[in-house]
């Protein structure tokens, strides 16, 4: 570990803390449906969309109706992308002349991008035409992110509103977030990326005669426009197979820093928006503090392990940290940091191959996802996931000290706790169940590239990534098979919507409650005690279930690595 490495990590965190309030305030304006300067240009677009689609943006929706419209929209979007991918061979915008995708791969990919997962069972450059990248995939990067933020708004309203049956309008939330936040930010971001060396063209392959006279083909395309929303919307699906490790996606150390910042910035901002929505910004800062503590703890472990390097290679006369799967222009610190950021959020972009990390260095990305990606988390999904833990935390605190559980002015009762547990239980059930199944079935065991415990880690990582809607991979796993494509597709769908629906039910239930003013009997939810309790609850309820599986995978792998036991 170096001073420069730590300066990068802490400087990165400091920049985000400075951005939290301005970004949160902008999001709050959208949450409230206030007019922004951008309405001057994009207001007519917004109104035109509503008019053509027959939407009344002021029509308040119950949680059931909100959920129904959200689900139906996502279903139609998914079907649309499935069709685009299947028909790729006959559609224009295909300079490489690529064929349509197989049914199982098109299904997996359509679910993957709809659920903000962006798991990729394919290599972008050899599978996707320019049109598929834009029309099939880029739109999801915007709309799955907008859906996530809309859902967070709905839950905020549940806490903020009193004695009402409604939690907002899904169409208004999703459209405003897309038009007044994601799209304009991505236009500027794309220009920055192009200026830094990310291609943006409708052309395809360029043939190169290298300095030594050999042939090399380079693929160009509309990379920058997709890269921007891939990061800002915590999607993570790369234009190229190597994702943000590819020099055309992430050419410099500066683009790398901006990419990491853009993964987190909306998640940081939303904690402030939450605090503002419930009338006390300290509530937001308390949540953010717990998240940042968990985040920095993860970075410390991964950076330490990667900088320490691989003892097996040291034995062969190789010096320094673990550079297998890493790019020189980023180095150890910026690669370790990126891996923790991308899995703390539900991004899943990678600038280094997690499969080749040291055993414990690679365990942190895995563990981050198993916690439910609530350490900052995906746009919207992070904060609503974390609020589920907050509900459980006040419940646990109430049990310990014999106080009625309350949170930001709402009584937390049996219904909310049951729904929160239901949502949180989806993760261990799906991840462990499907990983266990795949570790005994022949079709499952055909997947891993590596043998021994690391092979198990590849399987466990895949299902963790799918259920948690992350999308990063221990990419040695051969996942483009009917078995993995099908099962991972189901895992992604369940991991997204089986959490969202109970969460919306909680929002509806909370909105209907009266406001309970803070009293001497209330458990304070702003100070260090509360932050500590939140960290503990996330680790114990979120993490403990997974420890046995981690012992079989990364921890066994680590022991093999330090003993030089190869497999």
């Amino acid at each position: 570990m170096t001073f420069a490495g730590w300066a990068l990590i802490l400087g990165f965190t400091a920049i985000l803390l400075l951005l939290t309030k301005p970004v949160g305030a902008w999001l709050f304006a959208l949450y409230e449906g206030r007019r922004t300067p951008l309405h001057l240009v994009l207001g007519p677009v917004e109104r035109g969309f509503y008019k053509l689609a027959g939407i009344d943006p002021d029509a308040e929706q119950s949680w059931r109706r909100y959920a129904l419209h959200m689900l139906l929209f996502n279903f139609v979007l998914m079907a649309f992308t499935y069709a685009v991918l299947r028909l790729q061979g006959v559609l224009p915008g295909n300079p490489q002349g690529l064929a349509g995708l197989s049914p199982h791969l098109a299904f997996n990919t359509a679910v993957s991008f709809t659920t903000n997962t962006n798991w990729q069972s394919y290599g972008g450059e050899s599978t996707m035409s320019n049109l598929s990248q834009m029309l099939g995939l880029t739109i999801h990067n915007f709309l799955s992110a907008a859906t996530g933020i809309a859902l967070a708004f709905a839950l905020f309203r549940g806490f903020a509103r009193r004695s009402t049956a409604t939690i907002g309008n899904f169409w208004a939330d999703a459209t405003r977030v897309t038009l007044y936040l994601l799209l304009p930010a991505c236009i500027l971001y794309t220009l920055f990326l192009i200026a830094s060396g990310v291609p943006q063209t409708m052309a395809g392959v360029v043939d190169v005669t290298t300095l030594e006279g050999a042939k090399q083909s380079l693929l160009l395309g509309p990379v920058a426009s997709q890269e921007a929303i891939k990061m800002l919307g915590t999607n993570g699906g790369g234009f190229f197979n190597a994702n943000s490790a590819h020099p055309f996606e992430n050419p410099t150390a500066l683009t790398n820093l901006v990419q990491m910042l853009s993964i987190f910035v909306v998640g940081f901002g939303l904690t402030w928006t939450f605090g503002k929505a419930v009338g006390n910004t300290r509530q937001g800062w308390a949540i953010l503090s717990a998240m940042v503590i968990l985040f920095l703890a993860g970075v410390t472990v991964t950076y330490w392990q990667e900088a320490a390097g691989n003892p097996v290679l040291h034995g062969l006369g190789v010096a320094g940290g673990n550079m297998e799967g890493k790019e020189v222009r980023f180095g150890i610190a910026a690669s370790a940091l990126f891996s923790v950021v991308t899995t703390a959020a539900s991004c899943g972009a990678v600038n280094a191959m997690h499969d080749s990390f040291t055993a414990l260095g690679g365990m942190i990305p895995l563990f981050n996802m198993q916690l439910g990606e609530v350490v900052i988390g995906g746009v919207g999904a992070g904060i609503y996931g974390f609020l589920l833990f907050a509900i459980l935390a006040v419940f646990v605190a109430g049990l310990m000290v014999g106080r009625t559980p309350e949170y930001v002015g709402k009584k937390i009762e049996a219904r909310e706790v049951k729904l929160a547990v239901l949502a949180i239980a989806v993760l261990p059930l799906m991840i462990l169940g499907l990983a266990a199944l795949s570790s005994v079935l022949e079709q499952g065991l055909a997947g891993p590239l590596n043998k021994g415990p690391h092979g198990f880690s590849e399987i466990l990582y895949a299902f963790t990534s799918a259920v948690a809607n992350n999308g990063s991979a221990f990419a040695g796993l051969t996942a483009n098979t009917p078995y993995y494509n099908g099962l991972l597709g189901v895992a992604m769908w369940v991991g997204r919507f089986f959490i969202i629906v109970p969460m919306l039910a909680i929002a509806g239930s909370l909105a209907s409650k009266k406001y309970v003013p803070e009293s001497a009997g209330s458990f304070p939810t702003t100070g260090p005690l509360w932050v500590g309790l939140l960290v503990g609850i996330v680790l114990i309820l979120g993490g403990l279930t997974f420890l046995p599986s981690l012992a079989l995978g990364p921890i066994a792998d680590h022991l093999a690595m330090i003993r030089g036991q190869l497999s």
């Binding site: 063209t201 052309a203 190789v318 799967g325 790019e327």
Partner: protein, 190 residues
């Protein structure tokens, strides 16, 4: 409930089509137009051409170098090495026999070429993309004696060239772009 679903279907379908037109067509095409106008070199892949106009590479993407006359790039898992249509890391785990076999072979070759241990890690490890354009300065310097000998240059001159091409950044590690370095080497002659 059935009535609810039918009434939600129209916005779902219409909004899908409208957003597809805006985000899937208008946005990327507009960005392509702007990018081509403002930053044509970068938007088209930062390509480098020789005097005859042949494209010899991209300033941001790595390419393979095999001969003794050039600084060699890192091992690559992209296709058969530096395949621009198959970017990939090796994805081998830290205690993998295949990884150890590969690294051992490379270490042996380096030793045979007279490079003393310990070796800089990036010299014998595959990058994440398989298209890493860079080497660490230390990895480049291990090759300086060979280059100097083959080209009949003085070793300090080669080392100075590496130093001149070393880029430092607060945000990442120091690195040398190998294609730029090798072109500079050709300009030195011999």
């Amino acid at each position: 409930m059935n009535k609810d679903i039918t009434s939600a279907l129209r916005p779902a379908i219409v909004m899908t089509l409208l957003f597809a037109a805006l985000l899937g067509i208008a946005y990327p095409f507009a960005m392509t137009g702007l990018g081509q106008l403002l930053f044509p070199t970068q938007a088209n892949g930062s390509l480098i051409r020789d005097r005859a106009g042949t494209v010899i590479g991209s300033s941001v993407v790595g390419q393979a170098f095999a001969s003794d006359r050039y600084f060699r790039t890192r091992p690559s898992a992209a296709g058969k090495g530096y395949d621009g249509l198959a970017s990939s890391g090796s994805n081998l785990g830290p205690a993998s026999q295949a990884l150890v076999d590969r690294v051992k072979a490379d270490v042996t070759a380096q030793r045979a070429a007279g490079v003393a241990a310990p070796l800089p890690a990036d010299l014998v490890t595959a990058s994440g993309s398989g298209l890493d354009p860079d080497l660490s300065p230390a990895a480049a310097l291990t090759q300086a004696p060979r280059i100097a000998k083959v080209r009949g240059l003085s070793e300090p001159a080669v080392r100075a060239l590496v130093a001149r091409h070393t880029e430092t950044s607060l945000l990442g590690d120091p690195h040398v772009n190998v294609l730029a370095l090798n072109r500079a080497l050709d300009q030195l002659g011999r």
